[in-house]
């Protein structure tokens, strides 16, 4: 071989470049990322897990939950919705504006104003939505261009925004998963109905979620015959006639699952905030039941 050193340098350079790009650059960028303080609420994000929940993470790991559940919400894009937040007092003018801007037909406009806050349009560009909002906002009526996050995961209700690196700061190892046999759990704590139902689901998945493919984790519980007049520990009567008592592992796993939430608005991942009704309406109820 005549050009050994040159060949070696060439191979070294290509390997070093790809190493730098794929491993070292991300390490430099996010390797030392710190938990941040949410400016609006003053809370630390991500919140520190309780002792039970961090033990539950180990149970989650040992049971191999990660084989079937991912913990990452994906987003495919973002656009804007036009919301009417407050109709204000000068309703005839606002209704006329709505008709003029083709946002409602003349018949519907009044009803639409009654329903405020109401979504008028979706799938708008930022400039378009803000211009429409500016035209609808007058002295006391208020319209807003509201961010909407898009994607199948968000449509399924698995989260309100994409998952970002910061969401995993408290996790070691990061159990992000790569297969979705079951639903994504990145926000399970935010949508779950409470520890009792989580435990019932672990004991008898098909009872709480008919058609579920999840195997029951009965070895995490002990059963004993229930006495007359005694109330079972778990809701939904998962084992009729028996009381199902969760073991510490099951309790901590439920605590971990309840602690999974990645919905806090972050600077790098904004969360849609549609306007809400500020105060209960003082005038007559908007909808009267039809006779």
């Amino acid at each position: 071989m005549n050009n050994g050193p040159l060949l070696f340098l060439g191979i070294f350079a290509s390997v070093a470049t790809s190493f730098w790009m794929l491993l070292f650059a991300p390490q430099v960028q996010i390797g030392r990322q710190q938990a941040s303080v949410i400016e609006l609420t003053g809370e630390r994000y991500p919140a520190v897990r309780s002792g039970a929940a961090s033990q539950g993470a180990e149970v989650y790991r040992s049971l191999g939950c990660v084989e079937c559940h991912s913990q990452q919400v994906r987003q495919t894009g973002a656009n804007f919705e036009l919301w009417l937040a407050e109709p204000g007092t000068n309703r005839p003018v606002l209704a006329a504006t709505l008709v003029r801007l083709n946002l409602a037909s003349a018949v519907e406009a009044d009803k639409l104003l009654e329903k405020a806050p109401v979504k008028l349009r979706s799938a708008l560009g930022s400039i378009e939505a803000r211009m429409l909002a500016a035209q609808l906002t007058n002295d006391d009526a208020k319209a807003e261009a509201v961010l909407a996050t898009l994607g199948p995961d968000i449509q399924r209700g698995w989260g309100k925004r994409l998952t970002v690196t910061q969401d995993y700061l408290g996790d070691y190892p990061v159990q992000i998963g790569n297969l979705r046999v079951g639903p994504d759990l990145a926000n399970y704590g935010a949508r779950s109905p409470g520890a009792g139902v989580i435990l019932a689901h672990l004991y008898a998945p098909q009872k709480t979620m008919p058609g579920s493919m999840m195997p029951p984790y009965r070895f995490l519980f002990t059963t004993r015959r229930i006495n007359q007049g005694e109330k079972p520990t778990l809701p939904l009567d998962v084992a009729p006639g028996y009381d199902v008592v969760p073991s510490p592992e099951a309790e901590s796993l439920a605590a971990y699952l309840g602690s999974l939430r990645a919905e806090t608005p972050l600077p790098e991942a904004p969360v849609p905030a549609p306007p809400t009704k500020a105060a209960p309406a003082t005038n007559a109820p908007a909808a009267t039941p039809a006779p």
């Binding site: 005549n2 650059a25 991300p26 960028q29 996010i30 990322q33 400016e39 609006l40 609420t41 003053g42 987003q75 495919t76 894009g77 973002a78 930022s126 803000r130 261009a145 961010l147 994409l162 970002v164 690196t165 600077p267 790098e268 991942a269 904004p270």
Partner: protein, 223 residues
């Protein structure tokens, strides 16, 4: 590219003896020995390489997020993300107020707005004095200072004293710092405008010394 068909032994390191032993039986003609030849790189390969490099740089430009760690797919850049969130309320005044707060108020009321017992500084976060819809009382506190006990969030704060800021801060600064305080740490209250601070300043021009809770309670708040 060097000339083709040039025997390798003639390049570079000229005087080096041939590694092939002389006793080796010659193949073909007596003088020739197997040698590596240099051929020009096929133009098609160069073209392919250029194409791959072009595609690669386009990919990095489109999905690289401008090499900003805060940018995740599908967002193209951090600027784009910032544009998604419209500044709520009077964002400019809040930013200005934050600067004033850091300079003047933070020493006692702390960065988190929770006050400090050591300095006798009551909390601003969640304080009913701060959050009153009508800022008439809190403007008076900033203008003239406050002396004596005050009850904040169901806790009695002792005889601390807050300095009067009417000479150090102008109406605009007081309005912006109050707007910041009323819209930080979970607080949410209407913005304070400089015009109103000016009227209050005129009204209380002749007030002697510090405000007290008794003075403040004489001010009726508009709902």
């Amino acid at each position: 590219m060097t000339k083709p068909n040039q025997p390798s032994s003639q390049r570079g390191k000229a005087g080096k003896p041939s590694p092939v032993p002389a006793t080796r039986p010659a193949s073909g003609s007596a003088d020739s020995e197997p040698s590596v030849q240099r051929n020009p790189v096929p133009p098609l390969l160069v073209l392919l390489l250029a194409g791959v490099m072009y595609w690669g740089s386009m990919y990095v430009i489109e999905f690289g997020g401008e090499a900003d760690a805060r940018v995740h797919y599908p967002y193209p850049s951090y600027k784009y993300i910032e544009g998604l969130v419209p500044p709520k309320g009077d964002a400019a005044a809040i930013a200005k107020g934050q600067a004033v707060y850091a300079q003047i108020c933070m020493g006692c009321h702390q960065a988190d707005g929770n006050g400090a017992t050591a300095q006798n500084a009551p909390p601003l976060a969640g304080s009913e004095w701060v959050l009153a819809k009508d800022p008439a009382r809190i403007i008076r506190i900033v203008l003239h200072g406050l002396s004596g006990p005050i009850k904040v969030k169901d806790k009695d704060w002792g005889a601390g004293q807050m300095v009067a800021w009417k000479d150090a801060l102008d109406n605009e600064q007081i309005a912006s710092v109050l707007t910041y305080v009323r819209n930080s740490w979970g607080n949410k209250a209407p913005v304070v405008n400089a015009e109103f601070v000016k009227t209050v300043r005129e009204e209380t021009k002749d007030h002697p010394g510090y405000m007290t809770v008794a003075d403040l309670e004489k001010v009726t708040l508009k709902e």
